[in-house]
């Protein structure tokens, strides 16, 4: 009993929570940008997976994991553009397009893995982005143990939350983005280019999800394996909803899911049935989706293509 309680507040569990939350944070931020502009993006999962593969591929050839991250961003952005073209230009159903992209990404990465590395299942190991120590931070008691030494991408995720928050709520572009996602026609009547904003937002969404994927393959682990995202794109989507489509809210939700994930791994060591513990994040997600987030506050035009009349 005391073991479990001690575990709940253990700094190493908190540190792990930040690590597990990092890919979710990137993807959730991506989801927020896309949906706030009015395009539903359930392809986050596929975008992460593509990013994870590309990161390994690029790192393998260049030896430089940071270049791998850039590659992952580019790949994610490309997926985003694809989604954008299908949804905005051809006005396809956004959920169908997202699902198709997820399936496509699953197949594509498996294919490319075999094609380029000639192996099935798991790629060869590549260089990873090493953890760093933040000088002053690491000496603060308690917090230092959690955040003093982490992967640079963990810090980047936290910085991105702040950046996206500022972009959304403090910049002109963010104001236009939000108006486009709420009432595209109103935005159009004051001369805002609805389509252009949506293209950019969805591409950025893909780039962010791509970074999230790269964290999995070249920071958390050092290789790509088939379907290594394992549903994290969907958890990120849940975090976005949990956080009411705000970066800070989503951060809270991601940390919560990350914490559940971290705890889950430790609890397994304590002899609690594995399956039960593994269910935890998903159960929480369902509870979240079932309305514990209060009134639905989704951007109003989210999911609807914008058609000019006349």
């Amino acid at each position: 009993m005391w073991d479990v309680l001690a575990l709940l507040v253990n700094t190493s569990v908190f540190a792990a929570a930040f690590r597990m939350a990092t890919p979710l944070i990137f993807a959730a931020l991506g989801g927020i940008l896309s949906e706030r502009s009015g395009v539903v993006n359930i392809a986050l999962e596929g975008m992460m997976l593509t990013g994870a593969f590309t990161a390994v591929f690029v790192t393998y050839h260049t030896g430089m994991p940071w270049v791998g991250v850039l590659g992952a961003m580019a790949a994610g952005a490309l997926m985003g553009l694809l989604h954008a073209v299908v949804c905005i230009r051809y006005r396809a159903n956004q959920v169908v397009s997202g699902t198709a992209l997820n399936i496509f990404a699953g197949g594509l990465t498996v294919f490319l893995l075999r094609f380029f590395f000639n192996i099935a299942g798991t790629s060869p190991a590549v260089n990873v982005i090493p953890d760093i120590t933040i000088p002053v931070l690491n000496r603060i008691p308690w917090i230092g143990k959690i955040l003093g030494r982490q992967n640079p991408l963990v810090y980047l995720a936290l910085v991105s939350v702040v950046v996206v928050h500022i972009v959304l709520f403090k910049t002109v572009w963010g104001l236009r983005l939000r108006s486009v996602g709420e009432h595209p026609r109103a935005a159009d009547t004051v001369g805002v280019n609805v389509y252009r904003i949506r293209y950019v937002a969805v591409a950025l969404s893909g780039a962010l999800a791509g970074i999230g994927g790269s964290y999995l393959s070249i920071a958390h682990l050092s290789r790509f394996s088939e379907n290594m995202t394992a549903g994290r794109g969907f958890i990120a989507l849940a975090a976005m909803i949990f956080g009411k489509w705000t970066p800070l809210g989503a951060l809270g939700a991601c940390l919560f899911f990350g914490y559940a994930d971290a705890l889950q791994m430790r609890l397994q060591n304590l002899g609690i049935p594995v399956q039960f513990v593994q269910m935890l994040p998903y159960v929480l997600t369902m509870i979240a989706l079932a309305g514990f987030i209060g009134q639905a506050v989704a951007p109003k035009a989210s999911g609807e293509p914008y058609v000019k009349e006349g």
């Binding site: 002109v172 572009w173 935005a187 009547t189 004051v190 001369g191 000019k308």
Partner: protein
């Protein structure tokens, strides 16, 4: 006289509808030019073309003497043309200031200078006497205030040609007076205004010239001073219009609806209906007069089952229906014309035919065995309604959002009236409809009454209340202040009571009627 705007030979063909047929229209510097005509006559289309939202098939536009191409709203804004739309274009979760500057923001680098935006709004609102809180969220504002935001939006962009598409349809009489004051004020500062309305009274009160459209064609342009009510009505409709409803005295029968000590709170927990009791008998019209926002809407929504009542009872034909679902109440014999046709009355992305069976779609004759929909019955029904209620254009498969505002209203009225309901609740039934249609809807209300329906009429139009009701209740601050027979009511008396006056204090027209 300088012409700031000239439109020549504007033609616009929609699939199967010629919305504008070689229309010439011009506006002088600093004039208020009223644009009137029946529902669907092409007023909004013409103005949408001017604003760059629609593209004309033929015709030229000259602004300040120069020929221009207006392919998108941006171009119109750059030409200092501003438009307030029939259905507002505001982003609800954003603040007033954010909505006003959107698209032409005050920047500090990439950042929105929100403080300066708010100051700018305050400056404008002081200058034009349109007071508003720049930090309020749109969703918290009344319709009247939302409209103020729309006008400020256009002024902020430096509009010199201001288009107001049916701005008065959603306003209370007081707000209409205020708006007309604002319009005169703007005109005197040199702004040219195109004013679309269905109310001849307003045309005569505020405009300098008036242009009438009918079925996509221009009927003519006249100086307002050289025309009159009857003349304009005839130009609009193409025949003589009865501006008076004629009806026989009511012959009330059994009591159909009884509301007993109802209390209703809104979402925020504010008490909106405070201990209201009323009864309506079959064969009579009970009108509720009141300034909008005094609990009328909440009362109506409680009766039709859309909001829960906190305490009290609603008895319909002797049965306690408190807490029933809206569908069940409807099936028990309720017809309901809601105040907001877009939110409550229609599904804009459904066809006309589908909208005409909403709520009846699960009953015969629209359903075949095994619960399969009878498409033919739905189609036949639509064709009948289109004919009977003169819904234009007569295209049952057209999406409802493509119909003009007034024709959308006719769709709701047609659906709710044809089932001959025992209880008919009409909230603002003629909002945004043309005089011909008002005449028609009024006749229908009276004919429903004569066939034995109990009618509850809520309207911001005192004319409408006075000409249709047999008894009139005045609602103020959530309470029914008084109920009187229609013949004892006058516009003046009702106006006094609506603002919170006491019946005992009323000293008649010309008396000293200060509201305490």
């Amino acid at each position: 006289m300088v012409k700031v705007l000239e439109m020549q030979g504007i033609t616009k063909q929609f699939p199967r509808v010629l919305a504008n047929d070689r229309i010439d229209f011009d506006v002088n510097q600093g004039e208020i030019h009223a644009l009137v005509g029946e529902n669907g006559s092409g007023k909004s289309t013409l103005m949408n073309i001017l604003y760059g939202l629609y593209h004309a098939d033929a015709g030229d536009i000259y602004v300040r003497g120069e020929k221009v191409q207006i392919n998108e709203p941006r171009a119109a804004i750059d030409l200092k043309i501003g438009m307030v739309f029939q259905h507002f274009m505001l982003v609800e979760p954003l603040t007033v200031a954010e909505n006003i500057v959107l698209g032409s923001e005050v920047r500090r680098g990439p950042f929105l200078d929100y403080k300066r935006a708010a100051e700018e709004v305050e400056r404008l609102s002081a200058e034009y006497g349109l007071s508003i809180d720049p930090h309020a969220k749109i969703s918290d504002l009344s319709v009247g205030l939302q409209q103020r935001v729309e006008i400020l939006k256009a002024l902020y962009r430096g509009a010199e040609i201001l288009i107001l598409d049916e701005p008065t349809a959603v306003l209370t009489p007081q707000e209409v007076d205020e708006l007309m004051e604002v319009m005169r004020n703007l005109r005197d500062k040199g702004t040219s205004i195109v004013f679309i309305t269905h109310k001849i009274r307003e045309v005569l009160a505020v405009s300098d010239r008036v242009t009438v459209l009918r079925r996509g064609k221009k009927v003519g342009t006249k100086k307002t001073s050289e025309t009159n009510e009857q003349d304009l009505a005839e130009m609009m409709v193409g025949r003589v219009v009865l501006l008076q409803v004629d009806k026989t005295p009511a012959e009330p029968g059994e009591e159909v609806l009884a509301v007993q000590s109802a209390r209703v709170r809104d979402k925020l927990g504010t008490l909106r209906v405070n201990d209201v009791s009323l009864t309506i008998r079959s064969g009579e019209v009970l009108g509720i007069a009141g300034v909008e926002g005094n609990g009328q809407q909440e009362l109506v929504e409680a009766i039709v089952g859309l909001t829960r009542i906190e305490s009290g009872q609603i008895i319909f034909n002797g049965v306690d229906i408190t807490g029933w679902s809206p569908l069940r109440i409807k099936q028990a014999g309720l017809g309901y014309v809601p105040e907001d046709r877009h939110k409550r009355g229609l599904i804009l992305d459904y066809s006309l035919a589908d909208n005409l069976v909403l709520g009846l779609h699960s009953e015969p004759p629209f359903i075949k065995r095994l619960g399969i929909r009878d498409d033919k019955a739905v189609q036949d029904n639509a064709e009948r309604m289109v004919e009977e209620y003169d819904i234009r254009p007569p295209l049952p498969n057209q999406l409802v959002k493509r119909f003009s505002g007034g024709n959308q209203q006719k769709v709701v009225v047609a659906r709710e009236f044809t089932r001959n309901p025992e209880l008919l609740i009409c909230s603002q039934p003629t909002r945004g409809v043309d005089i011909g249609a008002i005449e028609f809807i009024h006749e229908q209300v009276i004919s429903q009454r004569d066939q034995g329906a109990a009618v509850l009429l809520v309207s911001a139009e005192l004319d409408e209340i006075l000409s249709l009701s047999d008894r009139i209740a005045v609602m103020y601050n959530g309470k029914i202040v008084t109920v009187m027979p229609a013949h004892e009511a006058t516009e003046h008396k009702l106006g006094f009571l609506m603002l919170g006056g006491n019946l005992e204090d009323y000293q008649g027209e010309g008396g000293n009627n200060s509201v305490r």
